[in-house]
């Protein structure tokens, strides 16, 4: 059974059909890349999957259960997490505090008023472990706002990891990264393959073809093709609609 499904999803903004009869199935454990030109509706799709925007019509199913009307925090608890295309962190908290918050959210122990959060050893050490995994251990004590864009992108991944979510929706994790940072991110994502189901939205074609198990191509809010990387590369329609303009 597919872990994530959308059925005939529709979403319009005024006259723009950002999501147009979008049907998609993501299999458990796969890294499913979604590519498409700017403004194709990729981010809009993610927001409907994680619940921050409601579709006008259609359904979203997670493990066969209809979650179309479920609030974002409830979907997160079911095991869906996302990273943001435009970095979305808590700028005035430290790097460690950001990650620790995600860890405590996962642990379900947030309604505690007495002990200082910084003294809860299990949470702090788990957060440090995650920071080490994305290469940010030395920056733990810094205020998040002081970090570079690339470091913010890696924090996004650490937060996604903290959730231990089965399904990760990653919206252009490579956006704005230099070649070196990009390579590091590709390695990081490769390490996650198989452990989590990942929906990866990405413009960086090298990264997409290096990582994806399957690729869907989104154009004007509609999936025009889904297949193995080799199939997508060979697809004439895709080439015309999208890959052609890149080359």
């Amino acid at each position: 059974m597919s872990i994530l499904e959308t059925r005939n999803l529709m979403k319009s903004f005024g006259g723009i059909r950002a999501t147009d009869d979008l049907t998609l199935a993501v299999e458990e454990g796969e890294l499913h890349a979604i590519i498409g030109p700017n403004g194709a509706g990729k981010t809009t799709l993610i927001t409907q999957l994680c619940g921050t925007q409601m579709p006008d019509a259609g359904q979203v199913l997670f493990k066969g259960r209809d979650i179309t009307g479920l609030a974002p925090h409830k979907r997160a608890r079911l095991g869906i997490t996302r990273s943001f295309q435009i970095t979305s962190l808590i700028a005035d908290m430290t790097v460690l505090e950001n990650i620790a918050l995600a860890v405590q959210a996962r642990a379900g122990s947030s309604f505690r008023f007495f002990r200082a959060a910084s003294s809860v050893e299990a949470i702090q050490s788990r957060a440090m472990e995650l920071l080490a995994r994305v290469g940010l251990a030395e920056k733990a004590g810094m205020v998040t706002a002081a970090l570079s864009h690339g470091e913010h992108r890696h924090m996004e991944i650490a937060i996604a990891l903290a959730s231990e979510a089965e399904l990760m929706l990653l919206d252009e994790p490579m956006a704005g990264l230099g070649p070196e940072e990009s390579a590091r991110m590709v390695e990081l994502l490769r390490g996650l393959k198989g452990k989590h189901t990942i929906v990866l939205i990405e413009h960086d074609m090298d990264a997409v073809f290096a990582l994806a198990d399957r690729i869907s191509v989104l154009v004007y809010g509609h999936i025009i093709a889904t297949g193995l990387p080799a199939e997508i590369r060979a697809n004439k329609e895709v080439e015309a609609a999208y890959l052609g303009e890149e080359a």
């Binding site: 996302r82 808590i90 908290m93 918050l101 002990r115 200082a116």
Partner: protein, 319 residues
């Protein structure tokens, strides 16, 4: 020790020592000023929990102070003139009045917060203000308790081992309460609960995507804050012994917000420093000129505009 902690401790030490010294050297007036300052500092500290740490710009906090004061005044009134005996509310006992003040305010915060917290930004400001004005007009309309003429509290709250008619003891109670309020807010904001509250201020969507229901956390903070402000109100009623709806006017709410912002929101000592600066400046300027409101307002705006993080901004640690 960070410069901020040091500044807070020095200010609290001065506040503990100076007022009694003034009092015993024949300047009772300054003790009065300090008591008022201390009580308002408690209210500002409670507002700081939601405003400074939670980013919730509540423009109706004076309503809680007022409700707290009436929770002392109304039982005291009935104790003297009869009525409400069957509810046990004709009493001068502080052990009834103070819990009543806090429970009333917690309930009011729960009911109104449940609605207000569904809105954002300017709407939140307006609706918190609207609820406060509602309480204001409700009290004005109750003739029995003096309407807009207010109500005299003939007998102060009776507490075991304390005599609140003694200005020094009243000040002592206010001071200890302020210390407790500051420590409680400090504890809450450093806890895991506090992390969620602060995180939601910085980026609510992100926190929700972590699986946390920011609404529930904010509402909880809103209720705690309201109950604390109600406590401050109960003290204020005992201090002024005259209460009126004017205590709940929106300008009073504005003053509390100003104290928090002036001193530095999101810091333990900020609201206390802000309340001190506010009350002392108001007093000094009003001696120089009857037109003190204008320079006072300009001064406050200057502090807010030119110091990052209010007065506490002066004590920022080096990085």
């Amino acid at each position: 020790m960070s410069p901020r902690t040091l500044a807070t401790l020095v200010a609290m030490a001065l506040l503990a020592v100076l007022p009694p010294v003034f009092y015993y050297t024949g300047n009772a007036f300054w003790l009065d000023l300090a008591t008022r300052l201390t009580i308002l500092a408690i209210a500002a500290t409670s507002l700081n929990l939601i405003l400074g740490y939670g980013g919730l710009v509540s423009f109706g906090h004076a309503a809680y102070v007022g409700l707290g004061a009436y929770a002392v005044g109304i039982p005291a009134y009935h104790w003297l003139y009869g009525g409400l005996e069957h509810l046990g509310l004709a009493t001068t006992s502080g052990l009834v009045q103070i819990p009543l003040a806090m429970a009333t305010c917690a309930l009011f915060a729960l009911v109104t917060g449940a609605i207000c917290l569904r809105t954002r930004g300017v709407y939140f400001i307006m609706i918190t203000m609207a609820f406060a004005q509602m309480v204001y007009y409700a009290i004005v309309s109750i003739e029995e308790y003096g309407g807009d003429d207010g109500l005299v509290i003939d007998t102060r709250s009776e507490l075991p081992g304390l005599n609140l008619d003694d200005p020094i003891q009243l000040f002592g109670l206010a001071y200890v309460s302020l210390v407790a309020a500051m420590l409680i807010v400090r504890m809450i904001t450093r806890s895991r609960f506090g992390m969620v509250l602060r995180g939601a201020k910085g980026n609510a969507e992100r926190v929700q995507m972590m699986g946390l229901n920011t609404y529930a956390y904010r509402l909880t903070a809103y209720v705690i804050s309201g109950a604390m402000a109600g406590y401050a109100g109960a003290l204020l009623g005992n201090f002024t012994t005259f209460i009126s709806p004017e205590m709940m006017d929106w300008t009073r709410s504005g003053e509390l917000m100003f104290m928090v912002i002036l001193g530095g929101g999101g810091t333990t000592g900020g609201p206390m420093l802000g309340a001190a600066a506010f009350i002392i400046l108001e007093e000094l300027l009003s001696h120089f000129t009857i037109y003190w409101h204008l320079p006072f307002g300009l001064l406050l705006i200057a502090v807010v505009l030119f110091t990052r993080g209010g007065l506490m901004g002066f004590f920022r640690g080096r990085k």
